[in-house]
Amino acid sequence: MLLGLIVRRMWRERRRVGVLLLALCLVTTFMALGPLLVRAVAGAEFQLRLDALTPRQNRIDLVDALPFSAGDTLPVIENTLGDYLQTTYVYRISAGVVCGFIYDPAITDIHSAPTSDRQHCYQTFAYREYDELFTLVEGQAPGSREDGIAETVITRATRDLLASFFPGESLGVGSRFIVGEDPFTAITVEVTGIVEPALPPDDPFWDGQARLFGQIVPLSIDFERVEFAFIVSEADFESKISPAIQERQYIWRLGLDYGELEVAGLPGFSEQLAGLNTGIHKANPGAAVRAGITDMLDSFEATIAATEAPIILLGGLVLVLMLYNLVTTTALILEEQRSEWAMMSSRGGSGLQLIYIQFVTALLLGGLALLAGPFGAGVIVRLLAQVGPQAGLLLAPEWSQIPVNAWFLSLFAATAAVIILTLPALPLGRSSLLHLRRTTSRPPVNPAWARYYLDIMLLVVGLGFTARLYFFLSGSLSLEPLLQDPAALIRAVTANGAAVGLSDPFNLLGPVLVLTGFALLGLRLFPMLMKLLGLLFQPLNNLMVQLPLWNVERDPNHYAQLVLLIMGTLALGTASLALAHTRDTGAWQVARDEIGADTVVTFGPGTLSSADWSTLPGVTQAAPMMAVNWAENIEGSPPVMLYGVDMAGVSFYGDTLTALRDADVLPLPGEPLADSVASIRLDVYAVPDEDTVTPVETRLLLILYNSDFLPVALPLTTLDPTLSREFMTFTASTSDLPSGTWRVAGIRFASRLEDDTPRFRHVVYLDNLVAVDTDGSETILNHFDEATREQWRWGADSRQIGEVLSLATENDIHTEGDSSLRVVYESLPFAPQPPMLYWRPQLSAMPALVSPGFARRFNLGGTDIVGSTFTTRLDWTTGREPINQTVFTYQVVGLVTDFPGARPDDAFLVADREQLQLRANARLRTMTAYTANRLWLNLEERQPSDDLLQAVAALPGVTNINTAWERYQAVQRDPLANSVSGILFAGFWLALALILLDFAFYLGMSLRRRAVSFAVLRAMGWRRSHLLGLLLIEQAAFITPALVVGILLGVLMAYVILPFLTLVGGTTLQLPLGAVALLLAALVGSFTALLLALGLAYQRTGQADALRIGD
């Protein structure tokens, strides 16, 4: 019967039970929210990455040293991958390259002299889908021959590359080369055809097969070779090539379409991938299954695992607030039911039986709330995805994928709530009607904690433990460090998490005791505050002002609890908004700092032209620049960046480059040529060598710099270069030079004796360097008169004697002007280059800004290096041989830490681009020259428009486009930060709903109890509007202090949490005043609306009826 009594009781009290059930559902909903929110956040981030999958990631490679059986492998692939599978290509390759010479076509003896003067290296491929992947353009497809020679085809790009780089060598139909070093297994391969791949070279399908298109591989500064691949039939690969090579690989390249894959389908897809792994390994145990998406899947699960724990912990702390709310609501409801409890007790109900009634009631409600919790959380996540700081940043999981954790947490919250609901029944179980009457007839007594000053004791003890913790972290009890940099304490807590946290529970006891003590102190002080307010307003002598204050003062306990709850709730909301706003600002700042600008476009070498980039749609500022990444081939050694900026666009960088801008402008070397110049002419008078009778063949090279300061040598030719003792006119044509800016940089002397004596001395007189335009007009570039002598310098690698001894003005031998330049030079054997005279060379050190990391990296010194000059040498190597070397002398004009795209600790140098190129490109070839390769764009809006992206992608040479918007979105989707903000925001609204429930219940109860007093007031002449005003003033009396303190608490909470949220760029806490004002308005508005609604409902009661209610 007791169970029947319980059910009937619940039905009878269904309004109150409904209130309780709603409150419990809010509690379980909140607690179950954590796992769903984390998955929604991680899911959104993952979906973003899914949508941005590159074609390379859209594939799976099955790789093994043994062949895959098609009969075993294909069914496994099709069954496990299903509709995701788009393409399947099978090919086999020789692992690594084999090197050898290329032999003349149609030779029969492969040991005769090769046609290549160097060994090139090659790799073997064989494709099952050969016909689909290649189109024959010359010759014939590879077949199978009986004479042991393997037929092969090469790509046209390979043939052309070899021809362009090594003109004396050729690779074409009929060419042969040898695969294998063992003479017993080595095989001769003959090119039978030239093919064109169906897919462009940059298609991701060719990953790992780049040699098909030929590659120039630098082996040292002066030596390169070609590496290429050739294609044989599958049969020849197995029968002829395989025996000759060490290792081979069999590859199945599967192209997938993840367009239909969504976060909700991840678990299923993971299973499919696992099935593929298992199935493949059955037949090929040694096979590797490489899926580009596997790391993403693993990181998705790892992200959830890492994020859930702190979010659940944070949710647990907020749960305490909600449970406290539940306690107050439960206490109110039980207070209303006192007479019923007392009656049952007086009728013989034992304490246990009454507790049983309450427990079963709570259990039934808890069970319903447990079931509702995860679904309620799902609704909340969907709401958050539409409204609030996380709008657009969440991807709610499917209803069928509510995680198990959510159920467990809902169970935990429901259990806690059941205990909370049952506990108050304990004292009620012992009451009787006698106690009921005594309680209502006598004034309330001070609670026990107040009588024994528990709040003060908790504060004192808590502060003691907190001081202990502070001492452990900071080493002293002085508050000065805390006041100077409060965040440092938080960082110390973070860094010493294990020591500070669970390993010593006393560490956490302090803050907990302090918080609890403050809460109780607040309950103690609240009545005094109300009394003070009453005294303040007493002079007004207005009953409508004093009466509500007196009412609040007279019943302080519940109001004080309500104030505490409002403060806690408001703190949640404020903290959430502050964190979200700070993250938004910080995230954008982080994104821009990482990327360098709103959008950064990377170009291939020599493809970034000088154009007016600011005309691109939505662009407000544009700055082309050069970024050179130098990495020493030592593991763990950080890279060094060299940034070359255009000083014309220095305003793009704000004040960062002020010191560089203010430095002396170094003149560029040489002399610029007009676009219309067609040829260069130079008069040369050669004197024979006195020590030898052998004629000297005067050879000169005109050295020009292109716009990237890459030196190009133009031969200066004359009819008879062996003439002496008379002026010869040497000419070089510039009409075949690519368009662009050219400068005459110098003259290289490559003369030779006819008997090839390597070392000899030569004297020449130079005069009348003239530029001839296309229309025949001439411009004298250099008279070589006295005044110009200082403009000429030997290059350091020329190893000549100094200019004073080798260069002189000659007045007697000249063709134009007053004099010529007498040059005495020595041709040296084993010199890396013939001697070169530089015209107006750059002798000064290049002004440069360096980062502290750069200074440390090259041991330049500390902050006192500004003004000093240094020389740094950068060697690029393959690991053994240097393939490039850059030596430059620079003067440090300033230290810089915040260059766009660079982190403060990075090692980088910033200089004028032309100056840097002048030094960096001195010994390079076109393919490795450093050119402007980045374009930084600032935009009108954070998000680049589609028009801009399309325009940029269509530019020639673009290799990459990075937008701060993408990075910003990725940062915004940081799971932990996002989840923290979301849980606090949801916590605010749910806690607010709980408070409103509690307030509505209390208000309704209070109005019923005070109906008589209200009726008396109305009988005395008060109008209904006066009563409403009284209620509003009551509300204002307790809400107002809660608002101020609540916001301050919220800011403090956000300040404490902020350092734990990374990726905010060191942004200080920012409070969105507008949003907080809306929050306050929501809170105050909801209370007021509730008050008005209940007040209006009360107003329908007549005075007589109200008085009867009292009776």
Partner: protein, 293 residues
């Protein structure tokens, strides 16, 4: 042995720093099966006595026994058992007697359910009790569907649910009309006859007080007077005598009207006569006031 025996019962209520002596050494005996009324002004200790007899309160001093239960030495479990099985209570406010969300049948069953009585037996007894109180045809009704008098009759049945030995009624007719009060009292009489339950009624209702054979008047925490009636078989009062209560210590409460009439206050003179004790005004000639044994 009397069924209810109160000896020098004292009850002091403490409210903050204030002490109120509700019972000041009350002596009272009630025989089993008696039906008595307690009357007296507010603050005389009637309700306190009821609470003590009902096991709701514990006396500060003195002795009180109901049946075999010594109420001063009862532990909590004994109190629960006592409230369940020995005593039944009816309060003046009907809202305190009945649970509004249960039917009247279920209300009567509730105390039996607390006593772990089997369902069939519960139901049977409840039906019987409701028949005895004249509400057999309204078993499915809820309290708010009944009149005040009917509710009190149901309350009576609820109080009798566990067949207690003692029935305490605190102003049972206070909120009902006179006709209903009469019906209620008749019902109580029936139950008294049927079950032999001892009934103690606190009342201001003269009609009720006049229908019991013994009325105990209380004043200042003690029994001051008793009115005893003898009736014939038809229930008509044959004799009615009012007595002053002389407690064990020999204390006597003189009617205030007598005191005022003779201007007696503070000190009086006592004189022993052969068959009575004379009480005389201390100031002046004593006017005789007889106390007969």
């Amino acid at each position: 042995m009397a069924f209810i025996e109160c000896e020098n019962l004292v009850k002091i209520h403490k409210v903050a720093d204030l002490e109120v002596v509700a019972l000041q050494g009350l002596d009272l005996t009630v025989e089993r099966g008696d039906m008595i009324a307690l009357i007296g002004p507010s603050g005389s200790g009637k309700s306190t006595l009821m609470n003590v007899l009902g096991g709701l309160d514990v006396p500060s001093a003195g002795k009180v026994r109901v049946g075999t239960h010594n109420l001063t030495e009862m532990k909590r479990r004994d109190q629960v058992n006592y409230r369940r099985n020995v005593v039944g209570f009816i309060w003046q406010q009907t809202s305190l007697n009945l649970l509004p969300y249960l039917s009247i049948l279920e209300n009567v069953e509730m105390p039996m359910a607390f006593n772990s009585l089997a369902g069939r037996e519960r139901r049977e007894r409840a039906r019987t009790l409701l028949e005895q109180v004249g509400l057999a045809d309204r078993m499915a009704a809820h309290p708010q569907q009944l009149s005040g008098g009917e509710q009190q009759r149901v309350a009576l049945a609820v109080a009798m649910a566990n067949l207690p030995q003692l029935l305490l009624a605190d102003e049972p007719t206070g909120e009902v009309d006179s006709e209903s009060a009469g019906m209620l009292f008749d019902t109580m009489h029936t139950l008294n006859n049927e079950y032999g339950v001892t009934i103690v009624i606190v009342t201001h209702d003269y009609q009720v007080a006049s229908r019991v054979n013994r009325v105990v008047g209380m004043r200042d925490g003690r029994a001051s007077i008793e009115v005893l009636r003898r009736r014939d078989e038809a229930g008509v009062a044959l004799t009615e005598e009012e007595f002053a209560v002389l407690d064990r210590t020999g204390r006597l409460q003189l009617p205030r009207a007598y005191l005022e009439a003779l201007e007696m206050e503070n000190l009086v003179r006592l004189r022993l006569h052969d068959d009575h004790i004379g009480i005389y005004n201390a100031n002046g000639d004593a006017q005789e006031g007889d106390i007969h044994e």
